[in-house]
């Protein structure tokens, strides 16, 4: 419903521009799911604690359940639906999630994969500690995380030669 408070915004979602009219208090996750039919990002806790709603905004992982849609007007948003190749082929991270059985119920998976993508873009050959540190904002209640960590390691290995340094400080933040 259009009100005096509604805002016209443009979101570039997975490379496609969408002109939308949204209420100022509308959450990004609801716009993606209800307006655009992109149900990959999940509404989990609704308070920014579980990571199921993770999307990339200008390449950076953000919690779409505590982000207002109006606040990301003009930004580039990538959801799990947007990471497949030009002919629909899976991203290497997605393939390794399947190979390593890193998916059980699947509710955390879109967020996990997007966060992994962000990590591998900034740090192509992370240590196990760095991987575990980076996925701390994404909660998985099924797998116990080991398959997820292995899948990210395998996907990293596919990117080329890993560095030999296994001593990096896991608590270190990777600069952006």
């Amino acid at each position: 419903m259009l009100t005096s408070c509604s805002n016209a915004i443009v979101l570039t979602v997975n490379g496609e521009d969408h002109m939308l009219v949204v209420e100022p208090n509308e959450l990004l996750v609801n716009v993606l799911r209800n307006e655009l039919g992109l149900t990959g990002a999940k509404y989990g806790c609704g308070t920014g604690q579980c990571g199921a709603c993770t999307v990339l905004i200008d390449g950076q992982p953000v919690l779409s359940c505590i982000t207002l849609a109006v606040a990301v007007d003009g930004k580039e948003i990538t959801t799990i639906e947007g990471i497949e190749g030009p002919n629909g082929e899976l991203d290497p991270i997605q393939e390794e999630f399947l190979n390593e059985n890193a998916v059980q119920c699947g509710f955390c998976t879109p967020g996990m994969i997007l966060v992994a993508r962000d990590l591998l873009r900034r740090n192509p050959h992370p240590t196990e500690t760095e991987i575990r540190h980076h996925i701390k904002g994404n909660i998985c209640r099924c797998t116990g995380y080991n398959g997820i960590v292995r899948a990210i390691q395998k996907a990293a290995a596919r990117q080329g030669e890993p560095q030999s340094d296994g001593t990096a400080d896991g608590e270190k933040e990777v600069s952006r």
Binding site: N25, G46, V70, G137, K172, E173
Partner: protein, 312 residues
């Protein structure tokens, strides 16, 4: 449907103008990691006749006020003017809209005031840190704001601006009482000036939490000591989550000065922390536990600053 109006100023001056024009109905928004859940909790708290979804309490602190969406939201999260970290004379200037991820990773900040970087790293989770700002951490004025203890022992200065002008305030004068600050009507935090400690100063930060990530502190401690070898010339000790506001522990500081620090001295001085704190029982811990753990962690953080670890 909502009556809230969303505004995105293009400059700090414009933001101040909006605040002046729409006060008291206007509220600043930056990362929104605290405010959005808080606003939404109010929507579901039953006051509008809607179902009670059990979200009362809003803020993850568990003891905060519930706030409805305001009439006007002024989004300053994207203002470049109040973003970034730079060195200026003997100070590090940190813009209010600088996100925790940048504070945690900044090489200059890690080199000059590592306890602030460590506190930023301890906040929320990596996704929250991509949005949460240091200005927001102070503006919501939670007793558990993790950047407050390091800023207190670093003698940081809060930079404020309103349509009437600018002013600066020591961070120690910023927190007044529970969730109450020195911020005047229409005033906003624009940044922090953090004095870069001289060579002889060393620090430590410790946060007691129930899990490694996404955890609000049970107690947090920051320490800065001026050392001549192991002798403490000057001491600053501060605490979070154990009183209505983050605060300094003057008695501990005084007791440390002039002492040669070892495990026994640290333990002895840390006992004096009890007179400064008034912890509460909540989901994260009992008041009794907080008293016990604060004393132990003050001692540990003092030793950490001196470079003695794991002996206590």
């Amino acid at each position: 449907m909502t009556d809230t109006r969303y505004m995105r100023p293009g400059s700090l001056d414009e933001a101040l103008e909006m605040m002046g024009e729409h006060w008291p109905g206007a509220k600043l928004l930056a990362g929104g990691t605290d405010l959005i859940p808080l606003f939404r909790a109010a929507r579901y708290s039953g006051d509008s006749g809607s179902a009670d979804l059990g979200l009362q309490g809003g803020c993850k602190c568990g003891d905060c006020r519930i706030e409805p969406f305001p009439d006007v939201l002024v989004d300053v999260g994207g203002l470049d003017e109040i973003k970034g970290i730079r060195r200026s004379d003997g100070f590090l200037e940190v813009g209010a809209a600088t996100v925790m991820a940048d504070i945690a990773a900044d090489p200059l900040l890690n080199e000059t005031v590592p306890i602030l970087a460590e506190a930023a790293r301890s906040i929320g989770n990596p996704l929250v840190r991509n949005r949460a700002t240091i200005g927001g951490n102070l503006a919501t004025a939670a007793p558990c704001a993790d950047t407050a203890p390091p800023l207190l022992v670093l003698d940081a200065i809060v930079q404020l601006a309103s349509p009437e002008g600018r002013r600066e305030l020591p961070v120690a004068d910023y927190f007044l009482e529970y969730r109450t600050t020195s911020l005047r009507e229409t005033e906003m935090i624009t940044g922090l000036r953090v004095p870069i400690p001289p060579e002889r100063w060393a620090g430590g930060f410790e946060k007691v939490r129930l899990r490694k990530s996404g955890a609000i502190s049970v107690a947090s401690v920051a320490v800065m000591l001026e050392l001549d070898g192991a002798t403490c010339l000057n001491a600053r000790v501060s605490l979070g989550s154990v009183a209505p506001i983050p605060l300094r522990a003057a008695a501990v500081e005084k007791a440390l000065e002039g002492r040669r620090i070892d495990a026994g001295v640290a333990r002895e001085c840390s006992r004096l922390v009890q007179q400064h704190i008034s912890p509460i029982d909540d989901l994260r811990g009992s008041a009794e536990y907080r008293r016990w753990v604060t004393e132990a962690v003050v001692a540990r953080t003092i030793l950490k600053a001196v470079g003695i670890e794991g002996t206590d």
